[in-house]
């Protein structure tokens, strides 16, 4: 039905022209789900935009043929192209929060879209809209259709988005990361829905995603992209099960398995990839410095931690609707081990890390480090010894480093702040050495954070944390903003550092497979309450709580099943 042959897209900027997509061919049949997978910069969204005829101004199709049925998509006039959009090809965007017009009811948006493409009465359009919402799994559709987008939850909103893409009965839907902003449970439902729609309605889907788990779960065929080129293409079981191309192999090796724990990710080299030159003697210097303090990190004990956030008043004199983010959470991290903390968004897992880091004030509860009371936010003085002992690696490496400070300044800050090294020259030497230890070239010290990729920035963040000689490391989703191959590298780095320096670690993630690779113990949070804690391997073998079992079942498994 859709056929793309030799597609190349060129982007022109002030440094000249660059190919974002080069010589890509693919086809989608009716009822088929075709996955486009690749890491950031692979050009997968650009292919989608090129098919839609919605490339940004700087981009243009340089070569290739794109046909939908008998229609040549490249030769369409702008008017004809716009008429085709919605009617024959539609699109689903990543974030359901922002994809709907907040000022119009769902009904108005649906009816408008239907009437834009078909001659029918408003009443008939409304009926079709309601039927569609019901089909898509929105309860009480005749009433709910009159609601505004903000009155739906995230998952329901993504269903509304899918209904909008479907309502004019297109042949092809391009879904650009449709489940990336959703929790696993909702993701599983939305993916099921896409599967079902492909089957029952015969709609073809192009599913753009970075997540190989999603591809494994729903797509019939898959195209693996890298730097705008096709690496490998074929039926999903074949490509993921017996990959041919070294890049696909490396990609599959980097995906954390859910069914077993790896000591280290074994990442094969991809031809053409540069390896950073690591200066071993420099790294040794940093290692020796960290080793000066012997023994493992402290044990962390939390008991009865409760956090409430002040809510809005309901009405003028009504009571505040306080929101309880954490409800009586008690847990212990054994000295020198890794505790994995999992939960969906809003479960309070990041809040817990912030309570330990003195960034959020708990309403109740006690914290102890090796038996010594750890004061909460308001009581923790700036000079408190725990300030140095507790360090954190944040989720977003683009915001966790001050973009106006040189890497050297970022790294030497803990050294003088905690009075670890009085001599400025020695501070610089140590900062350089630490860069070598985390696998970055020493010359990186003189550059600014924006000159590094996400993975490199996360390495800098780890180096900063290590330079205060911490005992307890809080890792708040440290890899969720990273590509899967980079994630594997960072996980390897964290494993190395943790093992070598005996850091007590609280490792937070929404991704069970990632947590399994890292943790000795595990704790599951749901809606601010602790659902289950226990040894990691026992947990993954047989979780106790129903919620944990559901969570485990809904997490897409990858690769291994083929």
């Amino acid at each position: 039905m859709l056929s793309v042959e030799g597609l190349s897209v060129r982007f022109t900027d002030r440094f000249g022209a660059a190919m974002a997509v080069e010589d890509v061919s693919l086809s989608v049949e009716r009822g088929e789900i075709h996955g486009l997978v690749g890491e950031s910069g692979a050009g997968k969204s650009t292919i989608g935009a090129a098919i839609m005829g919605l490339l940004p101004a700087a981009g243009q199709v340089a070569a290739g043929r794109m046909t939908l049925g008998e229609t040549d998509l490249r030769t369409l006039s702008p008017v004809a192209a716009h008429r085709l959009r919605g009617k024959r090809i539609s699109m689903i965007f990543q974030d359901p929060q922002t994809s709907l017009n907040p000022l119009m009811t769902v009904e108005a948006q649906l009816i408008e879209t239907i009437l834009a493409h078909e001659e029918m009465t408003v009443e008939a359009a409304r009926r079709r809209a309601i039927d569609l919402l019901e089909e898509i799994g929105i309860a009480n559709a005749p009433a709910r259709i009159r609601a505004y987008p903000h009155q739906f939850s995230g998952g329901m909103r993504q269903r509304v988005v899918i209904a909008l893409a479907l309502c004019s009965n297109p042949e092809l839907i391009i879904a650009d990361e449709p489940t990336t902003a959703l929790d696993v449970a909702v993701q599983a439902q939305v993916l099921d829905l896409i599967r079902r729609l492909a089957k029952t309605r015969g709609v073809g889907f192009i599913l753009i995603t970075h997540d190989i788990g999603v591809i494994a779960q729903v797509s019939d065929r898959v195209t693996v992209l890298r730097d705008g080129r096709v690496m490998e293409q074929g039926p999903t079981p074949r490509v993921l099960g017996q990959p041919d191309h070294p890049y696909t192999k490396a990609l599959m090796a980097a995906v954390p398995p859910l069914d077993r724990r790896l000591e280290r990710f074994r990442l094969p080299r991809v031809p053409g990839e540069k390896m950073a030159q690591v200066e071993a003697d420099k790294a040794r210097e940093a290692e020796d410095w960290l080793m000066e303090e012997t023994g493992s990190g402290p044990a962390l004990d939390l008991s009865g931690i409760t956090v409430r956030f002040r809510g809005e008043r309901r009405g003028l004199f009504g009571p505040r609707e306080d929101f309880t983010a954490l409800d009586d959470v008690s847990l212990s991290v054994r000295a020198g081990t890794v505790m994995g903390l999992v939960g969906e968004s809003g479960s309070g897992k990041s809040t817990l890390a912030k309570v330990i880091a003195a960034l959020v004030q708990p309403a109740a509860g006690e914290m102890r480090l090796d038996g010594v009371a750890l004061p909460p936010m308001r009581a923790r003085r700036r000079a408190d010894p725990s300030r140095r002992l507790v360090q954190m690696v944040f989720q977003d490496p683009y915001s966790s480093l001050n973009s106006r400070h040189r890497v050297l300044d970022v790294l030497s800050e803990p050294l003088w702040l905690y009075g670890l090294e009085p001599d400025a020259g020695r501070r610089d030497r140590l900062a350089h050495a630490m860069l070598a230890l985390v696998g970055l070239p020493v010359a990186a010290a003189d550059r600014y954070p924006h000159q590094f990729s996400g993975g490199q920035r996360q390495r800098i963040a780890v180096a900063r944390a290590l330079l205060s000689r911490p005992g307890l490391l809080l890792c708040d989703e440290p890899t969720s903003a990273l590509d899967v191959s980079i994630q594997a590298q960072i996980l390897n780095l964290l494993k190395d550092m943790q093992a070598r320096f005996g850091l007590t670690t609280l490792f937070i993630s929404h991704n069970l497979a990632v947590v399994r690779q890292m943790s000795d113990d595990i704790a599951v949070l749901k809606d601010g309450r602790l659902v289950e804690t226990g040894r990691s391997e026992a947990f993954f073998a047989a979780p106790d709580a129903t919620y944990s079992r559901d969570l485990l079942a809904q997490t897409p498994c990858t690769g291994q099943q083929f």
């Binding site: 919605g86 699109m91 709907l100 879209t113």
Partner: protein, 324 residues
Amino acid sequence: MVAYTAKRLIQSVFVMVAVAFLAFSLFAFVGDPVAQMTGVETSPEDRARLREELGLNDPVVVQFTRFTGDLLRGDFGYSFRTREPIGEMILSRLPATLELGTVALLISLVVGIPAGIYTALRPRGAISQSMLIGTLIGVSIPTFVIGILLIFLFGVKLGWLPTYGRGGTVEIGWWRSSLFTAQGWRSLILPAVTLGLFQLTLTMRLVRAQMMEVMRTDHIRFAIARGVPWRSIRYRHALSNTMIPVITIIGLQFGGVIAFSIVTESVFQWPGMGLLFLESIRFVDIPVMSVYLVVIAFFFVLINLAVDLLYVAIDPRLRVRESA
């Protein structure tokens, strides 16, 4: 929604009380009222008696309460300069300023909003570019220079329009209006255009910036991707989302209109409140200054409150509570 409105209301009251206090401090601490009211020949005893009678020896809190009470009852006191009651002075000047300000604001909206939309939708067109350069010059020319230019062009060179005063007015009750005679409108055109031009450029640039931002949002891109007609994308989806922030700023602009009417009134000798205020500054007529302050702040707060309520009408997120 109730909470939102109540919060706005409380904030408005706070602003008014603060302005009233400012006006009161002006009145009480700047320039001695007794010295203003008496001559050189008054004896110290008489002065002391006058102080006592005027309540100037009471604690500040009592004086402020009395001042506010007087304001609320519409008793604005007397001008030092003319000895007339200030309430009447302001009331006789109010219609002139309000008519001028409203017409100017209308000009700025009626021209500024469509121009902003046009330049946002065709950002690279030659017309848009020249309009943008035009507005840049517009914000850079002081209002009084615009006034002088218009007087020079239409009053002196071409002789089409009168250059000072209100021309023909009609009295409706105490309201003296220039909106009901041709002569009145002819006199109104130049000052209103002068005053409106500056606001117009601001409105246009604001609408343009907001609209361009909205056109890049996901929900507009989604509407394009599902083939919603362009007309609806632009004027139904994008425009309504553009207007939410724009309305707030337009509310704030009304303050600017009132303030710059001081300049316009001075250039065109327009007998409004601004001219009265300028005269009172020149003669250090403190009571008139402080009442003017309160009146202006009152209008400003009133308009912004209206804008906030309008907001509730437009934005369902404020009107309808979330429910899953």
